[in-house]
């Protein structure tokens, strides 16, 4: 099985955090970027050939993934390939939708002639065994298996909902239904029999070209052509971090020692590309409680219920509360940061204040500079 991670989305709802970077490259939990979860799940599931489809601001994502060695995905005749839009004799090939992006990369997938293709999105926080899902797909003799998450009926109105029969076969797909008939929300995780999917895509693009999106176009086509399509229910922790609020919320949940994501589980590690940084330095003026800190950090102020990512500096007299600080941010002296997300390489000058509320998280953007540092005495 070969995996395709759709990592081209801009993540507009993350505002200033994704102005210069793609959503899957957004830092999470102090040590990770969002795409690490999908990549580590692939590696832990024995899926060793992964195409990462990029489009929007791919620079950081490329720098992060490199040759895939950080996830153990740099084997001979396998590994990670970053797939960017390209021009050809038939014109430019910007990706117009999720299914279109797969269509544009048929040549890549055919290089490995896989029997099955796993489609993933690069913007969810979860641990999932794709091998178990494949076993289910095979047992059902399915043409398509859709990963679904049971949600509450209230939440169901915000998702693409799969209505199934008693054998879990999908009989209807409804996008954000007002009156949901089922609570099985699509996770954007699909296993396709490759030859069948390829036929649908090629046929479509040689005629009307309508197969742009998996949810809108491909699944309805599969259902109307009676392709055996099944739902595979996932019961673990799963979080879409598509908005500032949900990104903050997921980070705060990550802080809880009994978080069901269980990041300390060494049998299903989440890998990331790490720089070799010195250990964290907690000085004689620091106070650290209910927080997570990683290497390269220097803490001289107070950190309460917050996450500090790699290489974050916190000056004396500063207070960081209920916040997530992204890598390489520098926080001066006597700064107050409360209910906030501080972007990568941001600088908060001495005496600065970044204060949000639980319902309105304050955001300092990627590389944004607020105020200035006073001279050292």
């Amino acid at each position: 099985m070969l995996a395709m991670i759709l990592a081209g989305g801009q993540g507009t709802r993350l505002g200033k955090l994704t102005r210069f970077t793609a959503k899957p490259a957004v830092p999470f939990g102090g040590r990770y970027r969002i795409i690490d979860f999908a990549l580590s799940n692939c590696s832990n599931s024995g899926v060793n050939t992964v195409g990462v489809v990029t489009q929007y601001q791919p620079l950081e994502l490329n720098a992060h993934i490199q040759n895939g060695a950080s996830w153990g995905l740099a084997e001979k005749n396998a590994g990670v390939t970053v797939l960017q839009p390209y021009a050809s004799s038939e014109g430019e090939k910007w990706f117009l939708g999720t299914a279109h992006a797969i269509y544009q990369n048929i040549a890549y997938i055919d290089l490995y002639s896989p029997k099955y293709v796993l489609i993933l999105s690069g913007d969810h926080i979860y641990k999932m065994d794709y091998e178990a899902m494949l076993a289910y797909h095979k047992a059902q003799h399915a043409s398509l298996t859709v990963g679904v998450l049971p949600v509450t009926m209230q939440e169901a109105t915000r998702f693409g909902i799969m209505n199934t029969d008693e054998t879990n076969r999908i009989i209807q797909f409804e996008e954000k239904p007002k009156h949901p008939k089922s609570n099985l929300a699509s996770m954007g995780i699909y296993i396709f029999n490759w030859q069948t999917l390829k036929k649908y895509l090629v046929d479509s693009y040689s005629t009307d070209g309508r197969m742009e999106d998996f949810g809108k176009d491909v699944i309805p086509a599969y259902l109307s052509h009676n392709e055996p399509t099944y739902a595979y229910a996932f019961h673990g922790y799963w979080k879409d971090v598509g908005t500032i609020q949900s990104l903050w919320q997921a980070n705060m949940e990550f802080l809880e020692p009994d978080n069901p994501l269980d990041i300390d589980d060494r049998s299903w590690r989440i890998y990331s590309r790490n720089d070799a940084l010195p250990p964290m330095f907690v000085t004689s003026t620091a106070k650290v409680h209910r927080s997570m800190i990683v290497d390269g950090c220097y803490v001289a102020g107070e950190v309460d219920h917050s996450i500090l990512s790699q290489n974050v500096k916190v000056g004396t007299g500063s207070v960081i509360r209920d916040s997530m600080i992204m890598p390489n941010a520098v926080i001066g002296k006597n700064v107050l940061i409360d209910h906030a997300i501080v972007g990568e390489r941001a600088v908060i000058g001495d005496g600065g204040q970044v204060v949000g509320t639980p319902d309105d998280i304050a955001v300092v953007g990627f590389q944004e500079v607020l105020g200035r540092m006073e001279e050292d005495d």
Binding site: P257, M280, V288, M292
Partner: protein, 389 residues
């Protein structure tokens, strides 16, 4: 400088008896340091930062930890298409009664040096923890006609270890001999003694010629002694290193070097300079500080969980400090656990040690208690037994 203009030799056969039991199963070169590193990371990083890509590592008797740490050399950009890491196995001294082995000893060095096609060779060990600019050392060497440059640091006479090797310098600041620092006159200008860092730079063809000459004579003289002899007969430059340096030669010096890293100035000088220190990467989760955690003046690796009190301590990866535990002035290595209400003060815990609930272990700055790898102390009577032995 082109990447092949210089090669390096790291000799990990360094005295380790005074560091037992920490060196029972590892050489000085792979002793864990400052919450994250192994001592060999410092010479490897210095070499990498000087764009050297050909390194010969002469392995000590217990080399498993070296092989496990260095692997392909990728962490230091040494897994290149030309050059790379070359390892040379340990041969016991008694085996040098056999002339064939003596011949091979020199062959190992010669083969490496000839194949490196380098113009210069940097020779170092790992026990002098420092962040040396090898490019600057090369420029210094090139500016002088002398065949060898030896590296020293100035140590105030009052704090110099009397037995440590020092340079005897002449009026031109050239090395004429070596002696124990107590027998070397202090430099009147700044009341210091020039302590040797056992690092040398020389032309590769000069060293090849020297080794071939000894090989043909049939005598057996190890490379470090050979360089000593050569320096006392030929002229050698003395290059002064001015950054942070600690010589790890016994338990107190090892303990102090780690405690030095809690001094911000020394920490930044060694670990946060323009020349980064690289090490093998590990994927650990962030370290969790509980609501009741009370941490001051400490260094911590990732993957830890802290519920208790930490003062002036160095914790490596994946260490667990339970509720009401106190860890003061201590070094706690990877994977160790400190139980509920335990009190650990002036203790060095090697990898994977466990101190049980309410156990009291209190050493002193001069004589820290050392728990060897994997020691488990579940109660106070077990603690007393360990202290007796």
């Amino acid at each position: 400088m082109r990447k092949q203009d210089m090669c390096a030799i790291i000799d990990l056969n360094e005295p380790s008896a005074a560091l037992a039991p920490l060196t029972d199963e590892r050489p000085v070169g792979t002793m864990p340091f400052a919450g994250r590193y192994r001592l060999v990371d410092f010479p490897l990083s210095a070499i990498s930062n000087a764009d050297i890509r050909t390194v010969g590592i002469f392995l000590p008797k217990s080399s498993r930890s070296v092989e496990d740490h260095v692997r392909s050399g990728q962490a230091w950009d040494l897994d290149t298409i030309t050059g790379g890491v070359f390892t040379f196995p340990y041969v016991a001294t008694r085996d040098y009664d056999d002339p064939a082995n003596v011949h091979r000893y020199y062959d190992n060095y010669l083969t490496f040096l000839i194949k490196s096609k380098s113009e210069y060779v940097f020779i170092t060990g790992a026990r002098n923890v420092s962040n040396i600019d090898v490019s600057a050392l090369l420029h210094f060497h090139q500016a002088s006609p002398n065949p060898i440059t030896a590296v020293y640091r100035s140590v105030p006479t009052a704090s110099a270890n009397p037995e440590q090797e020092a340079f005897v310098l002449d009026a031109d600041n050239e090395v004429t001999d070596f002696a124990a620092s107590k027998d070397v006159a202090e430099r009147k200008s700044n009341h210091t003694k020039p302590i040797s860092m056992q690092m040398y730079l020389t032309r590769t063809d000069y060293l090849i010629e020297l080794l071939s000459r000894v090989q043909n004579s049939g005598k057996f003289i190890r490379l470090p002694e050979l360089i000593h002899q050569e320096i006392t007969t030929a002229q050698a430059n003395a290059f002064e290193y001015t950054g942070y340096c600690a010589t790890v030669h016994d338990i107190p010096s090892y303990f102090q070097a780690n405690m030095d890293m809690l001094d911000e100035e020394k920490f930044h000088s060694l670990l946060f300079s323009q020349r980064a220190i690289y090490t093998k990467n590990k994927n650990e989760a962030p370290t969790y500080f509980a609501p009741e955690a009370d941490v001051l003046s400490s260094l911590l690796g990732t993957g830890g969980r802290v519920y208790g009190k930490l003062r002036d301590s160095v914790l490596f990866r994946n260490v667990y400090v339970d509720h009401d535990a106190q860890v003061l002035h201590s070094i706690v290595m990877q994977g160790s656990r400190i139980g509920n209400g335990a009190h650990v003060e002036y203790v060095i815990m090697d990898k994977g040690c466990v101190v049980g609930p309410d156990v009291q272990l209190v050493g002193t700055a001069e004589a820290p208690i050392v728990l060897k790898k994997g020691t488990t102390i579940l109660d106070q009577s077990a603690a007393e037994e360990v202290l007796q032995s």
